[in-house]
Homo-oligomer: 213 residues x 2
Amino acid sequence: MAVRVDLNISLDGFATTTDQTPENPFGEDWGRLTAAYVGTRTFRERVLHDASGAGSTGVDDRYAAAYFEGVAAEIMGAGMFGLHEHPDDPDWRGWWGEEPPFRVPVYVLTHTPRDNIEFANGTVFHFLAETPDAALARATDAAAGGDVRIGGGPSTIRPFLRAGLVDRIHVAIAPILLGGGIRLWDELRGLEDGYTVTSEVAESGTIHVTFAR
Amino acid sequence: MAVRVDLNISLDGFATTTDQTPENPFGEDWGRLTAAYVGTRTFRERVLHDASGAGSTGVDDRYAAAYFEGVAAEIMGAGMFGLHEHPDDPDWRGWWGEEPPFRVPVYVLTHTPRDNIEFANGTVFHFLAETPDAALARATDAAAGGDVRIGGGPSTIRPFLRAGLVDRIHVAIAPILLGGGIRLWDELRGLEDGYTVTSEVAESGTIHVTFAR
């Protein structure tokens, strides 16, 4: 059982973008940050439900497939679930439609818990006002020996990294500069201690860096 | 003729370190940041004057050799030359001893110019209170068709990047987190526009990223 992080970041270290508008709620930069991942065959099958076999099949797709493999529970922040954009909507069910790609219990960290939301494909969102430690204990129980992913965003992930709770960190670095947003690596001097760090460059130009214990 | 930047940065984007002490004026982190570069055969020959042939000869050494190739003039900040640490020493001649590795005219940007310093190996330090544009015009003249490097530090390099004056940027990213210092990439959103970005990973784990026009 491993606790994992997988994240797309820019070359200047940002895991979020700043150019959202009402008309374009994700912004252009989000598309550029995630283009290589979204372009993989695995993402198209798993998230977009495109069974045509389209999509890239190289190094990026190998990481995309590994992203979904072995994860038996997930933890995410309220922002990643969409509670910041939809604070007053009791019927908000997340960004992912009726087939969220998780298919496992997902623990959403929020100061204002709400009722569980269950989907037919095995995804169940639980809402917890807990510390990272307590949330991880709960997710670890649910995972029953499988991996737990701390999904995001970066502000949710960082306390887990600082507390030494994460066994494997994979970042996919897009070779673009975003100039602003929330950084993954803030205040993490010496994080590499105790990890072996390896990197490889995908056909798309994305740099995949993995910290493994 | 090309204007070039080559810099060692950490995975969290810092080009300077924060753990300097009087006993260890460069700090431990500087050693970790530059270890792969300093370990190359080219650095050992060119900077340490070690003719034994020792040092690494792989991908890192290929970049180290390219670092010195074709540069016919250099621009650096007062801090890189050492004026901040030695403001009141009129005899300060830089960090590099009597055989500085540049062997070309070097333009040091400072608000308090001083007399030129000439070395037998062709290195001549000039001290200029100029804008980036004016300093680059001067260095370009001196280079007479050869390349001009903006050597550092990051605060000196950034205005040249922002003004679109740099043709090739090479960063060697050490897979370590420094947690503080001066960042190279601050406020450079969209820098990649107009460049082709390529990356490769050295045997040492260093990630070499090149922006070329």
